[in-house]
Symmetry: C2
Subunit: 622 residues, 2 copies
C-alpha cells in the first residue's frame, strides 16, 4: 500500500522540465515569499479547520475538518484526500457503528468532493512516508459528507497522465486541478503581488487603470475592433496603454504602473495570445538608467525565494554588438558560440563566393565555432588540422591556423562559416547557433544550465529601420514616441537612418521579456518624426501632440511581458501553461467554443452585418 | 505676497463635498496607510532629490533638486513649484551672476516644467505659512533648467476654477493635475493595494486573470461584440468573470480574486461606464456568513486611515424588510423616515380610494413621516392635530391620533400616505423618502452625516421575479447560478416564485456597492433551473453544466463595484471623478474622439460591413 502511495506521490510531483523539483512541499514553502509577511490563513471563513496539505506531527490529536477531492482509495481502508495545498491519508472506519461513513467514502467515485472530520493520528511505525509532507500522520475519520459526486472523467487528474493540449483546454477546469497548473497560477499571483509591493509600497507608484475601449491607433492593423451603437463608429482594443501612460505623465501622476490587459489580433501564432498581460510602467523625470535600475530591483524583489537570487545590475549590450556577436537582438547569453568576424583573414582569398561577398557593401565573412559539434554535425575540422569541407581545399594553411586561433577551435569542434551582407550573415549564424545548441543538448551536452536566469539589457537600437517593401522609406523600429539618442539627434534632420534611439529591451535566456524607452516630450520633435520622417497622419494623434505642448515632463517607461516571464520562471513549455483560460493556436476557447455565431438581430444595434465570403474566397481561405 | 499664496493654497484645497478636508498634508499622510509599511521612496531612480511637497524645517540646509510645474509667480521673486506631492516656494535669485537662472524662471509660462537645484532655507520670521505643509521653508535656487514650456492653457490648473465636464474630459491630462483628481486616483490605488494584501497575503487568495474575449452568454444583450477573423464568428466582452470564477472553483483553485475589468453596453447612462472594475471574489466550501465576514474584514482593512474606522459586523436586513421599511432593496440607513404600514387603521374607512386599495390582493396603505417637513413640503399635519390635506376631512379623529402614534409624528412634521399594491406603494414612498431628504438637506437640515459610512447587508432576495412583460413567466432575480435558500428548496418544483435565494447585496449609504451569492454546485439542479424554470437554451452553458458534474465543490462569491465604492469613499460627485480616463455620458472618449470611423478595408479581415441606417431610420434615431 505505502509503496503504491509513494509511487502515486512521485507521479504527482514528477518533473516536467526544470521547475518540478517543485512538489507540494516546496510549493507550500513558497506560499510565504518573504519573511516579513504573515503566513496566510488558508482556512479562514470556510467549512474546514485545516487544509489537507498542512497537517504534520505537530497536529497530532487535533480534531480537524477537511474538504477535498478523492484522489485515491485502496482496499476500502485508505483514502487519499487532495486539496490545492496537498494530499493527506484518511483511514476509512471499519466498525459497524460507522457504516454510513464507510459507505460514503467507499462508494464516492474518484474526484468526488467530500468533507471529513476526525482526529490527526500518527501512522503505525514503519508506515510513514518521508516523501509526502503529511507522511507522518493520517486522519482517523469520524464523520463524512459527500459534497458532490464526480462523473467518469475524460482523463485522470494526475500530471503524469499524458493528454493532448486540445483535451486539456476543453476540460480546463479539470486540467487546473493538476499540481503543475496550480503551482504556475499561484506563483504568478505571488510574483505579481510582490511586484505590486515593490512598485506601490516601496517606490510610490500609482496603480491606474486605463481604458481598453479606445480609438484605433495609426497603423493599428492588429487591433480588434468593437462596433458601437453609433453607425460606422468603432472602438478598438489597444495593444498597450502607451498613449494613456504618457498622458498620465502629462497629467502629473509622476509614477504609474498597471498590470495591463493588452490585445493583439495576429491570427494564429503558436506562442501568442490574442489577449495578454504586461507590467506596464511609466515615470516622469527619468532617464534610461533609472528605468533599468527600477526593473532590476523589481525582478530581484519579486523573484521566487526558492530560486537563485537575481544578480544586479544586469549586463548591457548594444544592438550592434548583439547582432554582430549573436545574430539577434535577443541573445541567449547562457552559452558562448559567439559569431566572429573573419573577413580580414580572407581579404586576399581566391574563393569566388568569399571574394564576391567581401566586395559588396556591408560584405563580411562570419563564423561560429560549435564545441564538440562533431557529435551532431557534418565534420568540418578534423584532427591534425585537416579541414573537412567543400571549401577546405581553398582554405590556405595560414587561414586555417588563423581560424583556429580566432575561434579558439578545439579538436572535434565544428566551424560554420558564412559570407554575405553583415546583417544577413549574422542573422543566419545566429539562428544556426540556437539550432546547434538544441542539437547538442538533445545529445546530452549541457550548454544552458536550467537553473540559470541570464538577464541582459539590449540598448542603442536604431530609431528607424528602412521599410522592407520600400527601403527608401523609414519605419519606426519600436513605436513613434521613442526619443532619439541625445548623441545622434543632429543626424535626425539629415540622415535619420543613422539615429539611435533611447529604446531598451530586457532579454532573459534569449527571450525578449520587456521593452521600453525614454519618450519624446517635445511636441515639435514628435510632430517632425510623425509627419516628416514617418509620414503618418498626425490628426489621429493630435490629442497626444497637444498634450505634449501643455508642459509635458520628460518621461520614460517600460513594459514587461508577464505571460512570457512566468513561462520562463516556471519552465513551462508554453505561455498557455501560465494562463488560467488560454485560447488555442487558432484563438479559440475550446471549453466554451468562443468565438461563436451571433444571430443577425443581435448585430443590428451595432449597425453591422456579416460579409459572408463568396465560394471562391472560402476556397482560398481553406 | 504670503497672503496671496495662502489664498492660492486655500483655493487648491478648497473642499468639494466632504473629502476635501483632504489637502496636501493629509494626502501625504495617507500615502502611508499602515504603520507596518515602509514609507515609499518617492524620488528613487529619478532626476530629483526630493518632492516639492515633502520639504520641512528638518531639511534646512540641504541641497535639493526638485522637478515640477510652475504654479504661480509673483514680482519675479517668488515662484511656487508644484508636483504630485505638493507645493513649495522657490526664491528666484536676483543677483547679476544668476541672470540666466532668473531669465529661465521668469520667462517660463505658467505650467511649464522646470528643474531647480538649491538650498532649503527657512522663511524670514513672520513670513511662514502655517496652512502650507512646506510653509516654514523656501528654496534658494542656484540652477534652473526649463524641461518643457507650456502653451496657453484651456483652463487654469486650480480646483476652484470651474470648468464644464466636457472641457475636463477633453483635456483630461490637464484635469488630472488638479489636487482632487490626484487624490482620488492615488487613494484608489492605495485602497486596492490594501485589498490585495488582505486577500492575497493574509487569506491566501490567488489573483487570477480571466479572459475578456469570451463567448456571448444567454441573454447577454448588453455585451459588446468583437468580430473575429472567422466569418460570422464573434467574441463577446463579458459583463463579469462569473463563469470563469465558478470554473476556477471546479478547478480546485479554492480562493480566487481579481480586480476585474468588466464591460456593459447600456448606451448612455449618466453614472455608468461601458467598462468598469469590480473586486471579484470566489471561494470554495463557503457559506453566506463566510463571504460576509471576509468582505467586512476586507473593507475594514483597506479603509483609509484618515476616516472613522469601519465597524463590523455590518447590520443585515431581509429584502422583504428593506422593501417594506425603505421601499427599495438598497436602503439608505443613515436616516429614519421609515415606511409604516397603516392599513389596519383604515380597515373600516369610508374613503373610496383607500377602501379600493385594501380590497385588492397585496393592497396596503403606507405612510412616511418627514420630520420638519413643513419647511419644504405642502403642509399635512398642522398644529393642534389639524390635518391639511385633500383627504383630511375623511380621516376620523381616532385614525388621526393613531397615525400620530404609529409614525411618532411631531408638530411641523409632514406625513405622506399612499394606498395600493404593497410593492408599488413601498417603492413610491421609498423614492419620496429620498426626494424629501434631498429637499430637507437643501434647506440646511442635516439628515445624512457626510462622515458616516452606513454599510448594510440585504439578504433573502427572491430567487425569481415574474417577468414584467409576462408575469406568468419567471426570470432570475440576479443570475441563473444563484443557489436557492435551503429552507425554501421544497418550493422549487411547485411554487418557484416563493423560493428565496442565497443572494446578498452590500449597500453603502443607499448605493448598492456589491452583490454575490452562494452558487448552485449541483448539475441537475442547475439544469432544472435553466431549462425548466427559466426556459433558457442550456446548450450555451453546456460547459458549465458539465463542469458541475465533475466534482464541483460548493462555492460562493461576491463582486464589489470598485468605481462606485471609490466614488462614495472620496465623496466624488460622479464615478468619472475616480476613473483616470472615463467616457462621457454618450460613451465617448472626448480626448481622442473614440469611437471613431474605420475605413471599410480595415473591416474586411473581420468579414463585417457597416449597415448604414436609411434616412428614415436616421431621423428616428435623432
Amino acid at each position: 500500500m505505502f509503496c503504491s502511495l509513494s509511487r502515486l506521490y512521485r507521479g504527482l510531483s514528477r518533473p516536467t522540465r526544470r521547475t518540478t523539483q517543485l512538489i507540494w512541499s516546496s510549493f507550500s514553502r513558497s506560499l510565504v515569499l518573504s519573511s516579513q509577511r504573515r503566513i496566510p490563513e488558508l482556512s479562514s471563513f470556510v467549512a474546514r479547520t485545516n487544509t489537507c496539505g498542512e497537517l504534520r506531527s505537530s497536529h497530532l490529536g487535533q480534531e480537524v475538518t477537511l474538504c477535498g477531492w478523492i484522489q485515491y482509495r485502496r482496499q476500502n481502508i485508505f483514502l487519499v484526500l487532495r486539496d490545492f495545498h496537498g494530499l493527506v491519508q484518511v483511514i476509512i472506519p471499519q466498525d459497524e457503528s460507522a457504516a454510513s461513513v464507510k459507505k460514503i467514502l467507499c462508494e464516492a467515485p474518484m474526484e468526488s468532493v467530500v468533507q471529513v472530520s476526525g482526529t490527526v493520528i500518527s501512522r503505525p511505525p514503519g508506515q510513514e512516508n518521508p516523501k509526502m509532507p503529511t507522511g507522518e500522520i493520517e486522519i482517523k475519520v469520524k464523520t463524512a459528507k459527500l459534497l458532490n459526486s464526480c462523473k467518469k472523467l475524460p482523463f485522470e487528474i494526475k500530471d503524469f497522465v499524458k493528454k493532448t493540449e486540445a483535451l486539456r483546454l476543453r476540460y480546463r477546469y479539470l486540467d487546473l486541478r493538476g499540481v503543475q497548473m496550480q503551482y504556475n497560477l499561484r506563483l504568478r499571483s505571488q510574483m505579481v503581488m510582490k511586484m505590486r509591493e515593490y512598485l506601490c509600497n516601496l517606490h510610490g507608484f500609482v496603480d491606474i487603470e486605463t481604458p481598453t475601449l479606445f480609438k484605433r491607433t495609426p497603423g493599428g492593423a492588429k487591433e480588434f475592433v468593437i462596433p458601437s451603437r453609433e453607425p460606422g463608429k468603432f472602438y478598438s482594443l489597444p495593444q498597450s496603454p502607451q498613449q494613456f501612460k504618457q498622458l498620465l505623465m502629462v497629467g502629473g501622476l509622476d509614477r504609474y504602473f498597471q498590470v495591463a490587459r493588452c490585445y493583439r489580433d495576429e491570427g494564429s501564432r503558436p506562442d501568442r495570445q490574442p489577449e495578454f498581460t504586461q507590467i506596464d510602467i511609466e515615470m516622469s523625470f527619468v532617464e534610461q538608467t533609472g528605468i533599468q535600475s527600477l526593473i532590476e530591483g523589481l525582478l530581484q524583489y519579486s523573484w521566487p525565494s526558492d530560486r537563485d537570487p537575481v544578480v544586479v545590475p544586469f549586463p548591457s549590450m548594444t544592438f550592434a554588438e548583439a547582432l554582430a556577436s549573436y545574430g539577434t537582438d535577443k541573445p541567449d547569453t547562457r552559452f558562448g558560440m559567439k559569431i566572429v568576424d573573419i573577413s580580414d583573414m580572407f581579404r586576399n582569398t581566391e574563393v569566388g563566393f568569399l571574394q564576391d561577398a567581401l566586395s559588396k557593401p556591408q560584405g563580411t565573412i562570419k563564423a561560429i565555432c560549435i564545441p564538440e559539434g562533431e557529435e551532431v554535425l557534418p565534420i568540418f575540422l578534423k584532427t591534425n588540422n585537416n579541414w573537412n569541407s567543400p571549401v577546405a581545399k581553398f582554405i590556405m594553411e595560414e587561414q586555417g591556423l588563423g581560424l583556429i586561433r580566432l575561434l579558439e577551435t578545439q579538436e572535434e569542434d565544428v566551424v560554420l562559416l558564412t559570407a554575405g551582407e553583415h546583417k544577413k550573415a549574422c542573422s543566419l549564424l545566429g539562428k544556426l547557433r540556437l539550432e546547434c545548441a538544441d542539437l547538442l543538448e538533445a545529445r546530452g551536452v549541457v550548454l544552458r544550465d536550467p537553473a540559470l536566469f541570464s538577464f541582459l539589457w539590449v540598448v542603442d537600437f536604431p530609431l528607424f529601420f528602412p521599410k522592407e517593401e520600400n527601403p527608401e522609406e523609414l519605419e519606426t523600429a519600436h513605436h513613434p514616441f521613442t526619443a532619439p539618442h541625445p548623441s545622434d539627434i543632429h543626424h535626425l534632420y539629415t540622415e535619420p537612418q543613422k539615429v539611435r534611439s533611447q529604446h531598451y529591451d530586457l532579454v532573459l535566456n534569449g527571450s525578449e521579456i520587456g521593452g521600453g524607452s525614454i519618450r519624446i516630450h517635445d511636441a515639435e520633435l514628435q510632430h517632425y518624426i510623425l509627419a516628416t520622417v514617418l509620414k503618418e497622419d498626425v490628426k489621429l494623434l493630435s490629442h497626444l501632440l497637444q498634450a505634449l505642448d501643455y508642459g509635458a515632463p520628460p518621461h520614460g517607461g517600460i513594459a514587461i511581458g508577464l505571460d512570457r516571464l512566468m513561462c520562463l520562471v516556471t519552465g513551462a513549455p508554453s505561455i498557455r501553461d501560465v494562463i488560467a483560460f488560454p485560447k488555442s493556436f487558432q484563438g479559440h476557447d475550446l471549453m466554451s467554443n468562443a468565438p461563436d455565431s451571433i444571430p443577425p438581430e443581435e448585430l443590428k444595434p451595432y449597425h453591422i452585418q456579416v460579409s459572408w465570403p463568396t465560394d471562391s474566397e472560402t476556397k482560398r481561405v481553406h
